[in-house]
Amino acid sequence: MANLNMVQAINSALREEMRRDGDVIVIGEDVGADGGVFRATEGLLHEFGAERVMDTPLAESGIAGAAVGMAAYGLKPVAEIQFMGFIYPAVDQIFSHAARIRSRSRGRFTCPLVIRTPYGAGIKAPELHSESTEAMFCHMQGIKVVVPSGPYNAKGLLISAIRDPDPVIFLESTRLYRSVKEEVPEGEYEIPLGQARIVREGTEVTLIAWGGMLRKAIEASEGFDAEVIDMMTLTPIDEEAIYRSVKKTGRVVIVHEAPKTCGFGAELSASIAEYAMLHLKSPIFRVTGYDTVMPLPKLEDYYVPSADRIRRAIEEAMKY
């Protein structure tokens, strides 16, 4: 066990997997000598060499597209996109190819790749460095979307993502990178994809959050008999965990930092309405970023759900 922050835990996952499997390759911008702008790949170049830790030209579509070709050939590329706000050029490759090649080649070619990218607000970064567009990727079938909420699960989930036979988008909350430390086992361990976890048990209201919002949800739940669920994987969605909890509590508050419209909370709400409606005692509440462009740092704290806003939503739900 070591007390690690999330950057160190991710680094440790990459190192373990690269030691275990020579087909695991890291590619991206500044991932080599610089160790990544957040230092998640620090030291990997030194240990594994430039053939396995490749600094690529500045080309997001090229990185994702090359990763598709590498994966089809038989490698397991772990690509880093420097920030989620810069992933859009790669979206064509992710949606049109990574997500589809297994299906369109009827299983002949597959795409076991991971695309890691920092997401979300919290470090007062410049424009387009704080985006949370996870829902866009959740809508697209053929890929999985994983969002760790701390060092321990970041390591286990990343190891599972690398071993997964299909493409995984791995979203790392920038606010969590260095703000929290946890005990992280030294060796390899997997946390299965597609499984949510109950962080705190409760009976009167279910709070659903992931990634950078989980700790806010936990903070807001103080003083309530609230059950807090950490999604960890957004797609495939762990419906059972949600319905089980909702059937028990009858109230739901969903928290995410992305805008409300068509956010992942919309999918959760619709699913709960479809499969657990008759167990609800109150409307479903969503505490989200606003339906605006993500503001620059001066307004960031107004935009991102605060524990206070979450608390008010819980109070609303408890009125029913």
């Binding site: 579509s61 049109s96 009827r106 299983g107």
Partner: protein, 347 residues
């Protein structure tokens, strides 16, 4: 600093069927006949596909008419173990690589099972979003290089494809890492209705290679010997660690863009007519006739053999049972998600 480059070009076999013996690749007579037979077979397949489409027996189809030399001449330079990333017009590439013709028809009739390359052939399914296959070839060549395999990757795209960002990102990366990859641009002068001059102000497309730090060459794309020679040299260079090459095959799309297109709206009949004497089959036939490798009887025999093979492929494609609806789910991911499992169950 000054940088200079020379736009290399290559043509060996002219319209009259005369070959420049000093440039001619060494090809035994049997190989020349095989090339001719593949060209006739591909053209027979293409014609059949067009009429199947007219009869509603397959969906939209993109004809390769006029581009047989570019496709066959290049594909013949690869080994089966190489990795091929075509666009959507390369049926002659698939045929040359040994891809079963019935599967091509199966694909164009809307059945994904036709896109599953047989074991032993590393040829990707048709790529519909223009140019997006270019980085895949780059990635595959990175993988081959990393693994120490002798395989090279090859990517086909059109003149329109060279305008895409993925062309730049892919070729740039290939140059930086000096990868074992061959880029084959079939400049057929049109991207649907947009003429070549509207894709780029560059005099040639091949010269773009020099801005990425490797060689480009423009070859007469209707001259199968020139295409074969240029590709063989590029493959040899790639396999030997010499890095990538961009080959521009200067050719012409004789047909409409696809069966859903009417090219008379945007190009003149005179232009199309002017390319007819440049036909790649015609000049190979004239060459072979001079060498005593071709006569009417041989022609008839080759045509009949091709017709039979294509008819067999059609019969086989049309006798297949339709795909199972469950296939939609079966190949979505390695194991279905709980939602997919439920959707499959409720189907």
């Amino acid at each position: 600093m000054t940088a200079s480059f020379e736009v290399k070009s290559l043509s060996i076999l002219n319209e009259k069927g005369e070959a420049d013996e000093t440039l001619m690749p060494s090809l035994p007579d049997d190989d020349i006949k095989r090339i001719f037979e593949l060209m006739v077979l591909s053209r027979t397949f293409d014609e059949a596909a067009l009429s199947l489409q007219r009869e509603g027996r397959i969906g939209t189809y993109a004809s390769m008419l006029g581009q047989e030399a570019s496709q066959i001449g290049s594909a013949l330079a690869f080994e089966k173990s190489d990795w091929i990333f075509p666009s959507f017009r390369e049926m002659a590439v698939y045929i040359t690589m040994g891809y079963p013709m019935y599967m091509l028809l199966q694909y164009w009739s809307g059945d994904e099972r036709g896109a599953r390359a047989p074991a032993g052939l590393n040829i990707f399914p048709v790529c519909v979003p223009v140019g997006t296959q270019i980085p895949h070839a780059v990635g595959a060549s990175m993988a081959a290089k990393y693994k120490g395999d002798k395989a090279v990757a090859c990517c086909y795209f059109g003149d329109g494809g060279t305008s895409k960002g993925d062309f730049h990102e892919g070729l740039n990366m290939a140059g930086v890492f000096k990868l074992p990859v061959v880029f084959i641009c079939q400049n057929n002068q049109w991207a649907i209705s947009v003429p070549r001059r509207r894709q780029s102000a560059s005099k040639t497309l091949s010269q773009k290679a020099y801005s990425y730090g490797f060689e480009g060459i423009q070859v007469d794309g209707n001259d199968v010997f020139a295409v074969y020679k240029a590709t063989s040299e590029a493959v040899r260079k790639a396999r030997g660690g010499g890095g990538p090459t961009l080959i521009e095959c200067f050719t012409y799309r004789m047909s409409d863009h696809t069966t859903a297109d009417d090219s008379s709206k945007y190009r003149s009949n005179e232009e199309v007519e002017s390319w007819k004497p440049k036909d790649p089959l015609l000049r190979l036939k004239l060459f072979m006739e001079k060498k005593g490798l071709w006569n009417e009887q041989y022609q008839k025999g080759v045509e009949e053999k091709s017709k039979t093979a294509v008819e067999q492929a059609i019969r086989k494609a049309e006798s297949l049972s339709p795909p199972e609806p469950a296939d939609m789910f079966r190949y979505a991911l390695k194991s279905p998600t709980p939602r997919q499992a439920k959707e499959m169950e409720d189907f």
